[in-house]
C-alpha cells in the first residue's frame, strides 16, 4: 500500500479515493486549461474535461488488439496457419458462431462489431487483474521524476471499463447503431409505429389514441433501458471488482498476518475475476448482437 503517495490523506479513505480518481485534463471554471490536481478540481471542470488515463489505456489496448489481429489478418493464409493466426482464427470463429447463433439478418457490420466489443472490453477488463498499485505507482514515479509533478496529485486509473464514460461511450455508440438500423430497416414510420402502436392496440380510434402515449412510455423506457443496462452492467461489475481489489490491497498495510491473508484473497478474487471479465465482455457482445437483431426485425 502506498499511503505516503496518496493525495488526500494517509488513510484508507484517501487511498481508495486516490485510486478512484481519474487523471483529468480539462477546462477549469476560470477558463484555463490544465490537469486537475484533486478530485474536487476534476469535478469542477464539469463536462469540458477528458480522462487521460481512460483514453490512454482504452486506445492503447484497442490498438494492441487491432494490431495483433491485423498482423494475423495481413498474413492470413489458407494453408497451415501459424500460432498467431491459429489463435486469431479461434477467436474469430467463436465470434462468428455467436453472431450466427443470434443474428439472423444479413449485415456485415455485426460480426466485426461483436469481435471489437468482445476483445476490447475483455482487454479493458483485463487491466483489473494487474495489481492495483503497479501502474499507478509507475505513473507516479514517472510523473514526479521526469515531469516534476507533485506525486500526491498524480492520478492514474488503469481499468477503462471502471470509468462510466468508457462503458456509456460504447453503449451509446451501440445505441446509435440500433437506432440507425431500426430506421434503415423499418423506415421512420415503422420505427415510430413500433414505439407507439404496441403492445396495446385497438380498432377503436379513440381507444387507440389513448393507447399511443401509454405504448410510447413503455416502449421508450425499454428502448432507453438497452444502452443504460448495457453500460451500467459492465461498469458496475468492473467497478465492484476493482473496489474489492483496492480493499484487499489495504490489508497489505495492516501487518504480516492480514497481509498474507490478503495475498490469498487477492489471488482468489483474481482467479474468480478472470471469469467475470470474460463473462462481462461476452455479455456486452451478445446483448449488442441481440439488440441489433431486434433492430433488424420487422413486426
Amino acid at each position: 500500500m502506498t499511503t505516503e503517495t496518496t493525495g488526500e490523506a494517509l488513510t484508507a479513505t484517501g487511498y481508495i479515493k486516490h485510486h478512484l480518481t481519474n487523471w483529468t485534463y480539462g477546462q477549469f471554471p476560470d477558463g484555463s486549461l490544465g490537469f486537475a490536481n484533486t478530485a474536487a478540481e476534476a469535478k469542477s471542470m464539469g463536462f469540458m474535461a477528458i480522462h487521460v488515463d481512460t483514453m490512454l489505456w482504452s486506445i492503447t489496448l484497442g490498438v494492441l488488439f487491432l494490431w495483433l489481429f491485423w498482423l494475423a489478418a495481413s498474413k492470413a493464409t489458407i494453408e497451415v496457419p501459424g500460432r498467431l493466426q491459429n489463435f486469431v482464427e479461434w477467436i474469430v470463429e467463436f465470434i462468428d458462431s455467436s453472431v450466427r447463433g443470434s443474428f439472423t439478418s444479413k449485415n456485415d457490420l455485426v460480426a466485426p462489431l461483436a469481435l471489437t466489443i468482445f476483445i476490447w472490453v475483455f482487454l479493458m477488463n483485463f487491466m483489473d487483474l494487474i495489481p492495483v498499485d503497479w501502474l499507478p505507482e509507475l505513473a507516479i514515479w514517472i510523473g514526479s521524476t521526469f515531469f516534476g509533478a507533485d506525486p500526491h496529485h498524480i492520478y492514474f486509473r488503469v481499468v477503462p471499463s471502471t470509468d462510466p464514460n468508457a462503458t456509456f461511450g460504447m453503449a451509446i455508440a451501440v445505441f446509435f447503431l440500433v437506432l440507425y438500423y431500426s430506421i434503415k430497416i423499418k423506415g421512420i414510420g415503422g420505427f415510430v409505429g413500433e414505439l407507439t402502436l404496441q403492445p396495446f392496440s385497438s380498432k377503436n380510434k379513440v381507444l387507440q389514441g389513448v393507447f399511443i402515449p401509454i405504448n410510447f412510455i413503455l416502449e421508450f423506457v425499454s428502448l432507453i433501458a438497452k444502452p443504460i443496462s448495457l453500460a451500467l452492467r459492465l461498469f458496475g461489475n468492473m467497478y465492484a471488482g476493482e473496489m474489492i481489489f483496492i480493499l484487499i490491497a489495504i490489508m497489505f498495510s495492516t501487518g504480516w498476518v492480514f497481509g498474507i491473508f490478503g495475498g490469498f484473497l487477492q489471488l482468489g478474487w483474481a482467479i474468480f475475476h478472470i471469469l467475470i471479465i470474460t463473462l462481462q465482455a461476452f455479455i456486452f457482445m451478445t446483448l449488442t448482437i441481440v439488440y441489433l437483431e431486434m433492430a433488424h426485425q420487422k413486426h
Binding site: 469481435l115 471489437t116 461511450g169 451509446i172
Partner: protein, 156 residues
C-alpha cells in the same frame, strides 16, 4: 466518476476501432477460414475419389488376374495336350524306326544266314567230294562228277 468529454472520445474511438476491424481485420481472416474450409472439403473429396478409384482398380486387377489365370490354365492344358501328342508321335516314330531297324537287322541276318548256308553248302559239297574220293579211293574226275555233286549240294 464524472461524465465528461471522455464519453464522446470513447464513442469515437469505438467507432474507429469497429471501422478498422470491419475493413482490415475481419474480411481477410474470414476469407482465409472460408477458403481453407473449401480446400479441406476439396481435399477430402479428392481423397474419397482416390479411395474409390483404388477400389475400382483393385476390382479390375482381380478380374484381370482371374482372366490371366484362366488363360494360363488354358495354355497349360494346351501345352500338356500338345506334349502328350508329341510324346505319342515320338513313340510312334520310335516304333516305326525300331521296326525299320529290326527289319533291317532281320534282312541282314537273313542275308548272313543265306551266306553262311551257301558257304556251308559249298563246304559240304567239298567235304562230300573229299569224302567220296576217299571212299572210292581213286581219283575221280571232279569235272565229270561236278554236275552230280552240285545237284547233291542243292539238296542240302
Amino acid at each position: 466518476m464524472n461524465i465528461n468529454l471522455t464519453l464522446i472520445g470513447q464513442s469515437i474511438t469505438f467507432f474507429f476501432f469497429v471501422w478498422f476491424c470491419l475493413k482490415f481485420v475481419w474480411p481477410p481472416i474470414m476469407n482465409a477460414l472460408v477458403e481453407r474450409k473449401k480446400l479441406i472439403a476439396d481435399g477430402l473429396a479428392a481423397g474419397e475419389k482416390g479411395k474409390h478409384d483404388l477400389e475400382l482398380a483393385e476390382k479390375s486387377a482381380i478380374d484381370k488376374l482371374k482372366v490371366a489365370k484362366n488363360k494360363a490354365a488354358e495354355i497349360i492344358n494346351h501345352a500338356e495336350k500338345r506334349a502328350g501328342e508329341i510324346v505319342d508321335e515320338a513313340k510312334d516314330h520310335a516304333k516305326v524306326e525300331a521296326e525299320r531297324i529290326v527289319a533291317g537287322a532281320q534282312s541282314d541276318i537273313d542275308q548272313e544266314v543265306n551266306r553262311a548256308r551257301e558257304e556251308l553248302r559249298k563246304s559240304v559239297a567239298d567235304l562230300a567230294i573229299v569224302g567220296a574220293s576217299k571212299i572210292l579211293e581213286k581219283e575221280v574226275d571232279a569235272r565229270a562228277h561236278a554236275k552230280m555233286v552240285d545237284s547233291l549240294v542243292a539238296q542240302l
